[in-house]
Symmetry: C2
Subunit: 269 residues, 2 copies
């Protein structure tokens, strides 16, 4: 069993109620990698017997640090319409909510379709780029093969500010695993906090909320398989303890799989 599948594994205890265990492989500096919590909460809705269609949108709020060990996970459909379904999910430890989420699932129908955006056409291929070293990185980074095109996470934090926080990279699960909505949602949180790239300084940070929009359906993800996805990440503004972060995730054949947004807390060291 892939470490990712172990990390998002849910043991059902009642309808919409599950028990999960934190995964040492996806540990962050404090508690688990936020992307794995996002995938775990999404998985609770995906596994629910009343689930309708594919996820369209997911918002995860990180309310408190997650402790190592057992997590009680609950998912309930709040409203089910003909082709859409609205969800509320939560993760509980010691009787208190540590993170909670909302999601929208839908049965998609074929319509007129178009892209406004496109990925750059002249990007080096993953085979021509070195894999980022995972030395001096949080444990969870070993679960990804990241190949930066631009805006690497600094190896040395020299406090020499960059003029922007843009990064682009190829990324896939390590070892490779066919992508699904759960792993795509985790990848959406894998681009390191923009403030580290911009400020080249380490400081306490924590994502407070993460929203992911799924542009891909199951068939598009099946076609993607284990290949690298291309991602670009940026921020708009860092101000008084919070900054935003936005990323786009593209398939190798130029289809937008997901777009994702988050607000991150930071504190001057």
């Amino acid at each position: 069993m892939h470490l990712f599948d172990q990390a998002i594994s849910l043991k059902p205890t009642a309808k919409g109620c599950y028990v999960a265990q934190t995964s040492a492989a996806y540990a962050n500096i404090v508690g688990p990698f936020g992307g794995i919590t996002s995938a775990l909460l999404l998985n609770a809705a995906m596994q629910h017997e009343d689930r309708l269609g594919d996820p369209i949108a997911l918002t995860v709020n990180y309310a408190a640090p997650v402790a190592d060990g057992e997590i009680i996970v609950e998912a309930q459909p709040v409203r089910t319409n003909r082709s859409t379904q609205h969800w509320l999910m939560q993760a509980v430890q010691g009787g208190e909510v540590v993170s909670f989420a909302t999601a929208i699932f839908a049965i998609r129908r074929q319509t007129w379709s178009a892209h406004d955006a496109a990925p750059p056409s002249d990007v080096p291929q993953p085979k021509d780029l070195p894999r980022m070293s995972t030395d001096h990185r949080p444990i969870w980074a070993r679960c990804y093969d990241m190949r930066f095109v631009q805006g690497e996470m600094p190896d040395r934090f020299d406090d020499i500010e960059n003029s922007d926080s843009f990064s682009s990279l190829w990324v896939r699960d390590e070892p490779p695993r066919p992508i699904d909505f759960q792993s795509l949602s985790a990848i959406c949180d894998s681009y390191f906090p923009r403030i580290f790239v911009r400020r080249r300084q380490l400081m306490p940070i924590g994502t407070v909320t993460l929203t992911t929009y799924f542009h891909a359906d199951s068939a598009m993800l099946a076609k993607q398989g284990e290949d690298f996805v291309y991602a670009s990440a940026k921020a708009l503004s860092f101000r008084d303890g919070y900054f935003d972060q936005t990323a786009e995730v593209w398939s190798a054949d130029h289809h937008l799989l997901a777009s994702t947004h988050q607000m991150v807390y930071f504190r001057d060291k």
Copy 2:
């Protein structure tokens, strides 16, 4: 009393429980303008006696059409930390959830701050631009003074596709009203569905989820007062019944007040 304040008015019935009434002034084609529902749900947390600090992020999920008349609104703090607070809000009609939301509030502290993004420097001023006519627009559009720089909402729907869906405009409440978090959250939904600009065709659409990040604090909003804000809106991808939409809202003196994202359902006519 300004029509906006009437529209988001909440009559408390118990701690965190309120009754509201839909507003004829903010009517959309079906039910209320989504921005007013967003402001109403945010207001329920803002008015709560246990509220901590200013809103940082708000996600509103539109689960079902809102009928004209009474709405039961509830807000509860899910988790309160030292400087952050996580919220769940919902709007109920006939015993069923019609929309629900999560929010994060925080006490901000002064830190290192920087912009990655900036608005264009050569934008015509609102006084030099015509106000958009509100003829053939939904009722709620009369509650705003919109002055488009680029990417107007089409007057005629001639089915001749644009190559993109980008719009930029100045906007303020009409009549003018000092901006606050509630009105800013409503403005974040005022940019018309991107598909109408891109496709120049009318079709059934509906926002399913709207996320707003507040980069401004109370002091910045007080400084903004009744002035126009500058906004730019775009989409990334339209595919099989759903498209995304992102906007940035800037003060006249070039401070990012909010960034906002949504997923919108559409159906070929």
